[in-house]
């Protein structure tokens, strides 16, 4: 009789952003879901601990009985990451962050994104840098959505951004990681967490981002617009974990030709 002993896998160090520790490396958005219930269930299935929200005008004719997003995604349970989506100037982004901080009782972790144009939603990096400078001066902790330019990514880190979040592909495109080489360069040069933000379409895209050494991935559409968002949220959770483990394990070198897995010695034919 032999005792079955469980293999002890080495423990990974958790993701740390602005001095706070997170077990999950998947960050999710709350947009484009069918309803608030689906949002809540998908986020639960994703295992995410950091959840993005947008800041918008309350509708004048709003139904007062409609549930508030922050009642479903409670700031006591999740780290709420307000974004500056829809902002095309540094000024609008700074205003949005200040409103978000007031909304969340002084919570100062924000996702800064300043967009350049509607077709690609590519970041306007000049305005992003200007907004980051002002917000950091004002005490905000900034996770910054940016282009996948290694030099700009480094500059944002040096300015004091707490996480660098290059796009993998345009927001909502689901095209996957388009420039792996740049993402890898950004990761190699960084001393703060690097997260791919935008462009992931399916679980293997998230895995690729993690295999490149990213500290996490932020996504919204890939889950919300899947046929079954709750199941996709779970797939993303697994994809992120697989990619992280694969990165830590260190993949085998790629070879041009085959290399047999079964020994040649001892063949009887």
């Amino acid at each position: 009789m032999s005792e079955t002993s469980e293999i002890q896998l080495p423990v990974d160090k958790p993701l740390e952003i602005a001095g706070r520790v997170y077990q999950s490396r998947l960050l999710v958005g709350t947009g484009k879901y069918r309803d608030m219930m689906e949002t809540g269930h998908a986020i639960e299935a994703s295992g995410a601990e950091i959840v993005t929200v947008a800041v918008r005008r309350t509708n004048l004719g709003q139904n007062p009985d409609e549930p508030n997003l922050l009642d479903v995604i409670s700031p006591e349970t999740y780290t709420i990451l307000p974004n500056t989506a829809g902002c095309y100037t540094a000024k609008d982004a700074v205003r949005t962050c200040r409103l978000a901080r007031e909304l969340l009782d002084g919570h100062d972790l924000v996702k800064l994104e300043v967009l350049g144009e509607e077709k690609t939603l590519y970041p306007n990096m000049t305005e992003t840098l200007a907004a980051a400078e002002e917000l950091i001066k004002d005490g905000f902790k900034i996770m910054v959505y940016c282009s996948d330019d290694p030099l700009l990514a480094k500059r944002l880190e040096e300015m004091g951004c707490v996480a660098i979040m290059p796009l993998g592909a345009p927001i909502g495109s689901g095209l996957g990681i388009q420039n792996r080489y740049n993402i890898r360069l950004i990761v190699e040069n960084a001393n703060v967490p690097v997260l791919v933000d935008a462009g992931v379409g399916t679980a293997s895209d998230a895995t690729i981002a993690m295999e490149l050494g990213c500290d996490g991935v932020l996504m919204n559409t890939a889950i919300a617009q899947a046929k079954d968002p709750i199941r996709m949220a779970n797939a993303m959770r697994l994809g992120i974990e697989a990619g992280r483990e694969s990165y830590l394990a260190g993949r085998m070198p790629k070879k041009l030709y085959a290399s047999a897995s079964s020994p040649i010695d001892g063949t009887f034919f």
Binding site: T58, L70, L103
Partner: protein, 66 residues
């Protein structure tokens, strides 16, 4: 007096405060943030913050987004 709330004209009694406005919008007790003429009005100051004719007020909350 008339103020601009979230881009639309709104009639308020003279002497109205941010709290008056929030009550009139049926948003009392909701988690929201208020900006008057592009400056934040902290929640603690809502009851005492008097609005003036022509003020531009933004009342915002969190909604779904990435």
């Amino acid at each position: 007096m008339q103020v601009q709330v979230n881009g639309e004209a709104m009639e308020l009694p003279s002497g109205a405060t941010v709290t008056t406005l929030i009550d009139q919008m049926a948003l009392a007790g909701k988690r929201l943030a208020v900006e008057v003429n592009e400056d934040i009005v902290p929640r603690s100051q809502h009851p005492g913050f008097a609005l003036n004719e022509g003020d531009r007020v933004e009342v915002v909350h969190a909604i779904g987004g990435g």
